[in-house]
Symmetry: C2
Subunit: 407 residues, 2 copies
């Protein structure tokens, strides 16, 4: 007996039948004696449809109005979910973000949660109701609607779990959990039973799309256990939890592949303080997300600065970089190297064990894969390679660490 927060994403509530199925899960948890809160996304493609409608009307819609528009998507789902529970004989009440005082800053389209009025939720739970909450949305202190940006419903899930001190946040998706690698590429990829917040953060940052970085950060901060599960079956999924000492026995928990990267190299710029800040400040101002950064200092007191961006950003970044090279007095033109990929391994065991990097590099070398750049964090090693060798590389790395085997 406890308090469970369940979240159903867009595909799990895409039509009447799926909404009823999700309702059944909430009821099952309730009938086991739990208090149940349900967070839902907009139905299927509802958000995309609203965006398309807005674009028909206005090429550049004001963000406040866009949020006013998009907030309706989840409001539709919460009402329908409450109706589904009602028709299955259970008491339920739905709340928009505003109705539970989910207050955010006023950064429309990517607002951050500031507070939640948990009292209203507890009142309804104590009356025996299942409480349905709209994901992805909140209100500013002045009552303007906001949305939380990509993965916002997961942010809502974790924030609600945190303020209610939930025993678990269940994230229902269309996959069985987090895998050791993308199972569409690595056929013997294995579902991970337990993974630490930090490992999940690295994997999310590497593009494992089930959970966004922000939701995991929040879960870590408030120590909310997350359980990623498949809404189509009753299997145990992946638990994302605080690190425990025995996790260190596992050197590598998962591997990830990011494709379609382009490397930009600015050569021979004066090696003086503030150069990197200038470069990446200007790039951030252009709203381009930089992946990895590699800087080397040369003998002649100049620096080579490389970084990777998604290939789709190349057109936007070129004018910025060309201007920067002129301004900084770079001796040569910038170099753009497309068709790259990044293969990474993640594991908290790296902190305590040596040899992980060497084992990865050797496996890639044995597979005749040339490593162009290396970047590491405490619990992650990434190698930039040719894009066309990406799928092969992740399989090789997966095999090298025997990720298909339960440790």
């Amino acid at each position: 007996m406890g308090l469970i927060v369940q979240k159903f994403g867009g595909t799990s509530v895409a039509d009447a039948e799926r909404i009823h199925r999700a309702a059944k899960r909430a009821i099952a948890a309730k009938e086991k004696g739990n208090q149940v809160v349900v967070v839902v996304s907009a139905m299927g493609d509802a958000t995309d449809d609203l965006i398309a409608l807005a674009k028909q009307i206005c090429a550049d819609p004001p963000k406040r109005e866009m949020d006013q528009l998009l907030a309706t998507g989840e409001q539709v789902t919460i009402a329908l979910m409450a109706m589904a529970l009602h028709s299955q004989g259970h008491q339920a009440i739905s709340f928009t973000g505003g109705q539970i005082g989910l207050v955010t800053d006023n950064a429309f389209s990517k607002a951050r949660i500031q507070s939640i009025n948990k009292q209203r939720i507890f009142e309804q739970l104590s009356e025996g109701k299942i409480v349905i909450i709209a994901g992805f949305q909140g209100v500013t202190p002045d009552g303007h609607f906001t949305t939380l940006g990509r993965g916002g419903s997961n942010a809502t899930l974790v924030a609600i779990g945190a303020v209610l001190s939930a025993d678990v946040c269940e994230n229902y998706t269309d996959v069985d959990g987090i895998y050791t690698a993308d199972p569409r590429i690595v056929k013997n990829a294995r579902k991970i039973d337990r993974i630490s917040y930090d490992e999940m953060l690295e994997l999310s940052g590497l593009g494992a799309s089930v959970l966004q970085t922000r939701a995991v950060e929040f879960a870590k901060k408030y120590n909310v256990p997350l359980h990623v599960r498949n809404s189509q079956n009753d299997n145990e999924g992946t638990w994302i939890v605080a690190e425990t000492p025995n996790m260190e026995h596992i050197l590598v928990s998962g591997a990830a592949l990011k494709k379609d990267l382009t490397r930009v190299t600015i050569k021979s710029v004066p090696d003086r303080p503030g150069i990197a800040a200038k470069i990446f400040g200007d790039i951030a101002a252009a709203n381009i997300v930089v992946d990895d950064i590699i800087q080397n200092v040369m003998d002649d007191n100049t620096a080579h600065i490389s970084f990777t961006v998604e290939h789709g950003d190349l057109q936007d970044i070129k004018p910025v970089v060309d201007r920067l090279c002129t301004e900084l007095g770079a001796r040569t033109a910038p170099i753009y190297h497309g068709d790259l990929a990044k293969v990474s391994v993640v594991g908290v065991g790296m902190r305590a064990h040596t040899g992980v990097a060497q084992r990865m590099f050797k496996a890639l070398a044995d597979g005749h894969i040339n490593i162009q750049n290396i970047t590491t964090s405490e619990i992650k090693i990434s190698c930039i390679i040719d894009r066309e060798q990406g799928n092969m590389a992740i399989q090789i790395v997966h095999d090298a660490f025997e990720l298909e085997k339960v440790k």
Copy 2:
């Protein structure tokens, strides 16, 4: 220069192009130096689509959740309308009912407006913005979403006009205004230029569907001039205003026809106090709306009570009436007479002039139309006739009072 509240119904905002056209009207009013507030309905069939979705999920949805669902319809339109104004180079801001503190009672699905926070609207107007407000919706003092029932967007229009002391409330529809009779039946029906609140109230009650009784009552109470106009052209429509002395020169302003009525007669019930209250109390409890009531006292201290209902309600009312006859000790079974119609004329001039009723009865008699019942109010005369003579009767009455001519 003044303050104008414009309202666009569902057909006037059914798609991106129409929303842009409605936006142009708001801009035109603004550019004449007015402050402009726009009230909008849900787009086209959006509300019906949401109801259909709810019915797929739950045969009998809780009304609170239904209102939570339906309130999204207008929220979509306000955001899109604000975007349309933005893309046409004008500043605008959209508000849901809740965002302007449009507080209602908690009668979900048919809530009544209690108060509106006009300050928020005036703040935005004074910054030069066009203010867009969602029709049909409000919030309870506790923050639950409510809807205002049929014609709710018109109620919003008039309530906003009243609290802002607007110079005019413009109601944009798909017709040119209020007609002397339904132009689909009476070919020479004429658009009325000015009509009093009271006359409009009678016509609304008789089924002229452009404006609901409630909105007109509200406009009368707060003396808000209403201008019913066509959103597809720039013609002057019909002004609905307080009665002025010169209106009395016009004996009859309009005629109306209500079809598909059934008359129920309860014969020979004891003529004692409280009988009518009992009968119509029980019928109201069954949620059936009674049209006209006619009661005669017989010589033997029993009463005949007749009333008309819409034919569609007959099945629901039969068991109620049959039970009532038994309970009240009626000496004979109730009589149900279907296939009736009601033809009515309305005009404030009746108050000061005699002969209107006689002129109507004579015209119908000359047309060989038998009058089965007559009911009157201060400014209305209604005759119950055979349904199949309805269309002919309204044309005859229209001709008798020469309604096609401008007086």
